[in-house]
Each structure stands twice: as structure tokens, then as C-alpha cells.
Symmetry: C2
Subunit: 343 residues, 2 copies
DNA sequence: TTAGTCAATGTAAGCGCTTACACAGCATTC
DNA sequence: GAATGCTGTGTAAGCGCTTACATTGACTAA
């Protein structure tokens, strides 16, 4: 058996006894071809197991119907959920999603952006607002519309579809302070190069300031994303001189870790210590007590972002601008937050 | 400002005053070009914001360094984790990962396979072993090596890197039976078109049979993936005539749902009822009591699969076969499984 | 000096596809 | 019965790139 190379349009044309143009038409505009021919051609396609070469097609058609997304990591349920919704919406509009991950590193993100654009992405979904000017310039010269998500930052370099991390966390903090807590632990994901994390921490500081309290009421620990790291951070917080009565966590996963550590030390949540999360993942409902957290409409965000990006792409060269949308968050009161224990 | 189209190799060549061949060489084999020229060219590349067109390159070079993966959904931590490891390994070997999701539907998977191949995927990671013969034929005629994962099925149509779902679940069931349970509830993900789910259920039946027990000891409920569906399934199980003393869940997420329902009914886990999971996700450690579950080496599987697939791809036309690897699982004893309550 | 070598660059073909245009055949229309 | 339109198909250009081969010129060796 000779090493049959993968069949091309030409092979199909020969097999069907027609020209390549006809084959192409059969595949892309079947009604422009009379039925008898179409059957002949489709039969040949089947027989040869022909599959069109996307690159060649894209090169001449100048359309790819492809949109790219770059997320820090797939291993974060929050992104996974939003992305799944994003992809479903894209699919419904005939677009294909290409996903890449950056491991939270700006240079990798830059490389991935170039890679996705080279692969024909006509629009890009990115996480967060901050990125180096070279990238923005690249996007501009390539005329690729891009959307920042998981943040709401009108007037930023990129249009954004998301929510106000800072305000949401400030609201949660205000609630904690209102309940009477005056000694707050904070477990945050690394803020360096992560504008969502840092906005959340800023929100906390803001709320403390707005309540006319000194920022010495705060003890902040930064750590990597994960249950175990959250647990370790909680251990650190609890071994300090003054024990916080409430711990604000930058996300639900860290909060779950904090709860494990609290339990390990025989601290009852929330009677001995309150814990709050952020994101409202499944995990928030699975821990005991269930987590009081900030609900983020991840799926809605994915869907809205898809719609916005498609619009930007189809607006074409005209305006790459697009406009920002704030999706809003709300505090979900469950069992992990209450008044501080009486001493 | 004229509508500047995105710059091409030619534009760079003109801007640098050299031929396209030289520009191409600068980019792909810099040492074949004298330094002075190289600087000129790279400068022009920068100035124009040039980015090579992947499709055009792939078309002539016949290499894409791209591997595709199709998973049922990104919204499942189990896949996310394995995939992240897979992608890291690929990256280290200079390959790019293209991800698509199939929503657990075979026809969508087939379409995605074609789409990824058309986009130049040189190898494919798939989940599970079962798929229609047309797809296998397509893969064969296109000479695309493919690997089945999350299963171990030597002698199957595709080589596999994974674990034996059936044996793992049988082992867990045997353990439950050994503790004295004689009334087992089972909450399984839908088994239809999901060979992992069905293998797990088969494992349970097998273990019951091996213990010379009638399969009336089993009450099986199938449901969709999710905490809430797990909870509903548990409710169904608990409202039956005879209450199971142990509930075997097809995965940790369903198990977490089951625990919530148990708690809602004031049943203590494990004293009143035992619950087991499968996968050993973070969620298993976060619930209280922590879940006794089957540990699956997701990351290791991803890494191993990447290595195997790269090897298959680089073996090229010769043998698309590859060989299967069984990664092994083990039961993690935590707090959710104990002997049945005395009546 | 002259042939020979070699490194640096240019020339041009062609990868697989779509599509503008040309063309043939046929049914209408006056 | 010629002019007209329409429909189905073919012809061929060219998308952006890599690379085999040709060319150039500087240098070496005899």
C-alpha cells in the first residue's frame, strides 16, 4: 500500500470528474451546484475521507470564524465556568473557540496572543485589564478586537465585560465591619501582576478607610491559589499575636482551605471565627458551614462577553472599540459569617 | 490614515530592502543570515508589527507542532487538571495545544475532531474509548495518531493512557462490602455514551457478584454531573423503601451533593450513612467529613499522555499504534466511610 | 592570474484553497 | 429565429509562506 498522502480538493475533483471549483462550491454553497453533481462529489469526498485544509481556506477566504481566549489556568473552576458559557455562545453563532493558558505570566500571555492571532483568531478574550503597551500596540496594528473580562474598567485600554472587583470586596468588607469585627485577617491570591486580586485587596482597604478605622485592623497574607495554600495562610494568620475574628478570602478556594485549618484547630465557624469567600463556586456550598461569599455571574459573563466580542469582530475594521459592561455582583449570605465572639 | 492591511512577509522584505527568502530565514534560521541583515530585518518586523501567518506556514512546511484535545466539558475539574498538565508537558516539547469541548455528545466530538485536524493537529487526545467507526476510519485515513485517556483499555481501537475505572470501583465496592454494608445506594453520572461512568457501575456490580450477593442489594440512580443533581439523587435514594447504609458515588462532585442532602436530613456521615466518591478532587478534602474516595493521578495522566502522544506523532507515518499504559488508582481513606450503623 | 570554494542572498515554484470571470448550453421572449 | 437571460461548470489567479536551486561576490590556493 503506497503511502497515500491526505487527499486534497484536487484529488476529490479528479475522483468525481469535475473541477476543483465545483468541489469547493459543493462544500461551501451546495445550492449553486446541481444535485447530480453534488452527489457525485460528496460521494468522492466520503470515499477519500477528504477534510478541507483550514489554513489554506483561511488564507484565501480571509475569514476564520475563530475567536481566541487566554486564561491564566484551566485549573480554576471560575475561569472554566465562564469559558464554557463563552464557548457555547460562540458555537451558537458559528464561531470556534481556541483556548490557551498563560500560567499567570505576562510574557507567556503575549506569546499566546501572537500565536492565536497567527492562527487566525479574529477576536480575543483576555482576563484582566493590565498588560504591557507592546501587546496593545500589536493588537492595534493587527486590528484584532480584544475584550478584557473578569474586570470592569471603563476607560481602560480595552473594553471590558465583567464586574468591579474592588467595589464588590469593599461591600463585603463593609458588611463584616458592620457586624462589629475590628480585627480582620485577609487571605489574598498573589496581587503581583493580577489586577483582580489587587483590586479586591484595595477594596478591603478602602472599606476600612471609609469606616474611619486605621489599617492596622488588617493583617494581610498573600499566597498561591489552592486549598492547601489557603490552609497554610490561615495557619499563619492564626499564629499571629492577635487572632482575627473574621478572615476575608480573595476567593472561595482559599476560603475553603481556611475553613479546614480552622476546623483543625477546633475553632468553630462562624461562632469563633467568621470566614468569607469570593466567586460563589460550587465549593462554597459544599463546605460546612456554607460559605458567605460574593456571587459572580460567571456564566452570564461568558455569554455577554461572547456577544460583545462577536459584535466587535463583525463591526470589522470600523471601530475596534466596543463598550464596557458591568455585570454586578451580590453578597450571598450563608453560614460562615456572623458577629464576632464576645470576649 | 489608509486602512493598512496586516503586514505580510513581503511588506517586511520591502521595508528592509531584502527578499522574502531572507526575511523567512531570519525568522526560522537566524544563523544563516549575516548579522547586519538580520538587524535590518528584525527592525522592520518590529516596526510593522509583523506576525507570520500560521496557516500559510503550515501549508508549505507540513508541520504545525500542534496537538489537539477534545474533552466533554471544561467545567469539570477532573479534566481541567489533567489537561493543564498535558498542556504544560506539550509546551515543554515545543507543541501547542488546541482544546475543544464536546458537551458529551458524540456528533459534536466528531465535528471537533475534523475541525482540529483541519486546523493542523498532528495528534489528538480523546477521552474514553468508545467512538463510532467512521471516526476511527477518518483518523486512519488522515494518519492522525490519537490517544484515549481516562480509561485503560489495551486492545481497544485506540491506545490508551489511563486507569481501569471498573477495577477501581470494584475495589472500592469490595471495601464497602467488607465493612458489612449490605444495602448500597449508587449515584452515577449518566452512563449512556460515557464509558467511564458505565465501567464504574459495572465495577460495582462485579464486586457485588464476586461477594456472592444478589444485585438487589444495589439501588442505582443516574443523574447529570453537578452538586445539585447529586443532592437530588441522594434525596431520591433516601426516600425509597429501604434506606441504604452506604452510597457509592460515581465522582466526588456527586458525592458532595449527596453529603449536603444527608446533612439536610440530619443524617450524620458516616455514622448514619457512609458516602464514597471517585477522582480525589480538591472538593473531597473540603467537605466535612472528608471524603473517602478513589485517587486518580490526573496530572500524571496528563503528563504521561503528552509524552506518549508526542512519541506517536514523531514516529510519524510508520506506526500510529502506540501502546497503552495503566496508571493505577488507590483508595484514599478519609472520614466518610465506616461500618454500617447497628440497627 | 585564474580556477575553485563557500557564504550570503535572490528567484521562483508551489502548498490547498476560493472566487472573479469566462463560457457553454438551454429556455424565454418578441 | 435571433436576441436575451439564466444556470451550471470550468479556468486560472493569487492568498502568505518556505525552500530548492541559481546567482553573486569575496576569498583562497595553485
Amino acid at each position: 500500500m503506497p503511502n497515500a498522502p491526505t487527499p486534497t480538493l484536487n484529488d476529490v475533483a479528479e475522483a468525481a470528474g469535475v473541477s476543483t471549483a465545483t468541489v469547493s462550491r459543493c462544500l461551501n454553497a451546495p445550492d449553486k451546484v446541481v444535485e447530480a453533481t453534488r452527489i457525485k462529489v460528496l460521494d468522492a469526498v466520503d470515499r477519500l475521507g477528504y477534510s478541507p485544509n483550514f489554513g489554506a481556506r483561511a488564507m484565501v477566504a480571509k475569514r476564520t470564524n475563530t475567536i481566541g481566549a487566554i486564561i491564566p489556568t484551566m485549573e480554576n473552576a471560575m475561569f472554566a465556568r465562564g469559558l464554557q458559557a463563552f464557548q457555547e455562545k460562540l458555537h451558537a453563532h458559528g464561531y470556534t473557540l481556541l483556548v490557551a493558558s498563560s500560567s499567570y505570566q505576562s510574557e507567556i500571555e503575549a506569546a499566546q496572543i501572537r500565536s492565536l492571532v497567527a492562527r487566525g483568531a479574529e477576536g480575543l478574550l483576555l482576563i484582566g485589564q493590565d498588560r504591557p503597551p507592546e501587546i496593545l500596540k500589536f493588537l492595534r496594528t493587527q486590528r484584532i478586537p480584544a475584550l478584557a473580562t473578569w474586570v470592569f474598567a471603563p476607560g481602560g485600554d480595552l473594553p471590558s465585560v465583567g464586574f468591579d472587583n474592588r467595589a464588590a470586596m469593599a461591600e463585603m468588607t463593609a458588611e463584616v465591619l458592620r457586624l462589629g469585627h475590628r480585627n480582620l485577617g485577609v487571605i489574598s491570591a498573589f496581587t503581583n501582576g493580577n489586577d483582580r486580586s489587587s483590586a479586591r485587596v484595595e477594596g478591603i482597604r478602602q472599606a476600612v478607610q471609609d469606616a474611619n478605622l486605621p489599617d492596622t485592623v488588617l493583617t494581610i497574607v498573600e499566597t498561591a491559589y489552592g486549598v492547601e495554600t489557603g490552609q497554610a495562610a490561615m495557619a499563619e494568620l492564626l499564629s499571629g499575636d492577635i487572632r482575627p475574628t473574621a478572615v476575608l478570602c480573595g476567593n472561595d478556594v482559599l476560603a475553603a482551605g481556611a475553613m479546614i485549618e480552622a476546623r483543625a484547630r477546633d475553632l468553630r465557624v462562624p461562632d469563633d471565627i467568621s470566614i468569607t469567600g469570593f466567586d460563589d463556586l460550587e465549593m462554597a456550598q459544599v463546605v460546612d458551614p456554607q460559605l458567605t461569599t460574593v456571587h459572580v455571574p460567571h456564566r452570564e459573563m461568558g455569554t455577554t462577553a461572547a456577544a460583545a466580542l462577536i459584535e466587535m469582530v463583525e463591526a470589522g475594521g470600523q471601530s475596534i472599540a466596543g463598550s464596557s459592561q458591568n455585570l454586578g455582583t451580590r453578597i450571598i449570605h450563608r453560614g460562615s459569617l456572623t458577629t464576632p465572639p464576645r470576649t
